[in-house]
Subunit: 240 residues, 2 copies
DNA sequence: AATTCAACGAATGTCGACATTTTTTACACT
DNA sequence: AGTGTAAAAAATGTCGACATTCGTTGAATT
């Protein structure tokens, strides 16, 4: 069975949903389970961009009533993964070139602020964890002689920094409302599949700045890190 | 009948809801109407912070079934106005000192980026509208010999700048997910009721920077504007 | 042939009832 | 009196059916 790794949770193809739901009962409510299942299906592209979501069909497919399904859709709306027009349709978001670039501009603003705060607020224990993560990145890249930082590790790194800001508002904006779209974009576009070896160097610089408790340096470094990613995307992305 | 002005929409006290719903049929769906009604009731404090929302009671009060009401609650969750714990409770958010300061940090990051983009992207027509708005502010303040920029005008100004960025992601993050909380905070705390006369000067500086098509100046100016607001709040806010 | 209108089908919105879980209350026991 | 347990009450979660709206098809008219 094909499985994808996202957010530390494994989820199988949608056709295997029956199996999945009988195996995993982590979430308390049906509606919450549906939310994560749909989220992952959208991120991976199993449900393609722009797809019109028919409540009746999906309810039948997942073998649930329309109530919980509608709630899941509302939540995904709040995560910017679904665009809903009342009385008409709910569609999976379409990642235009424009939207992606706007996404990275927003990420630049939020995450550079987050790391500035993190430089002040992170505990030394948390900084240690950052070290462990980039050491693992380094090791993995040497072993696989890969030019790319493994995506999951990259997400873990950035999310550790974000949480380190101790700012719940930024954390929610980034993790709940932005990163899903970024994961979706990266998952569905090989060329966006993380960063060159530069990324690892940049990660080290970020940790260094945090370690020095230097919010300005941390902010500038993170800003550059994200701008680099944005530039890479802007160059390589076809115009649509 | 007591009415409050928010987002260009008038809404009466909740006790008068029956009247309201028979008068205004602007929104297409019940669920959408409930969302705005509840949103405004939360912002004004008619539904107090921390209130536990009982679906049954509210459904009876508004004379609707629980379905649309639950959807409205999910949407308000997405706007950060309600915190929901599955199987337990949905509560109106509580604006702690900490949360407010985090909110302003986030706003600083997003809105300074927004204005930098606006300095590049705004049309001259849009800049004219900015002028009209701050001229109106100036006039109102002279006439009422007031030390404060009228809140509604202040929101209009900031929202014009945000839209001027032409960045839908930032726009949504700010207007849909942050400003409601800020409005809530300001509405329920006299002392936060906009800014000193400095604000008007700062608004002029921001427009000047945009006019000069100077994104760096615009960003710095906006950042200072918001930091000032934050500092004022930090000084005056009791510790809770 | 193109356009308009009407009827049909499909989809979303809304409702009331049932199921399950949580919280409260009351009672028994130490 | 305090604690623990069990029943009862209240609340959330879920379901299936009905209502309304939207989009489409097809026929009638110009």
């Amino acid at each position: 069975m094909l499985t994808f790794y996202l957010n530390n949770s494994i989820f199988p193809c949608m056709s295997d949903f029956a199996t999945f739901s009988s195996v995993t009962h982590s979430s308390s409510t049906l509606s919450a389970e549906l939310t994560t299942t749909l989220r992952d299906a959208i991120i991976t592209g199993e449900i393609a961009q722009g797809t019109k979501l028919s409540e009746a069909k999906m309810a039948k497919e997942f073998d649930v009533s329309r109530g919980p399904l509608r709630e899941a859709i509302r939540r995904l709306e709040g995560m910017n993964l679904i665009i809903h027009i009342p009385q008409q349709s709910a569609r999976v978001v379409t990642l235009s070139r424009d939207l992606i670039l706007q996404l990275y501009d927003t990420r630049e603003a939020l995450e550079s602020k987050a790391v500035a705060l993190a430089a002040v607020k992170m505990t030394s224990r948390e900084i240690d964890e950052l070290h462990r993560e980039i050491d693992a990145q380094s090791k993995q890249m040497r072993e696989n002689s890969g030019a790319f930082v493994p995506v999951e590790s990259d997400y873990r790194f950035h999310e550790m920094v974000i949480r380190g800001s101790k700012n719940k508002v930024i954390e929610r904006a980034l993790i709940h409302e932005l990163y899903n779209l970024i994961k979706m974009f990266r998952y569905q576009n090989e060329f966006a599949n993380t960063s060159s070896t530069n990324s690892l160097v940049e990660h080290r610089q970020i940790v260094y700045a945090i370690e020095q408790r230097d919010p300005v340096l941390a902010e500038v470094t993170m800003r550059r890190h994200i701008v680099h990613a944005r530039e890479r995307i802007e160059r390589r992305m076809s115009l649509n």
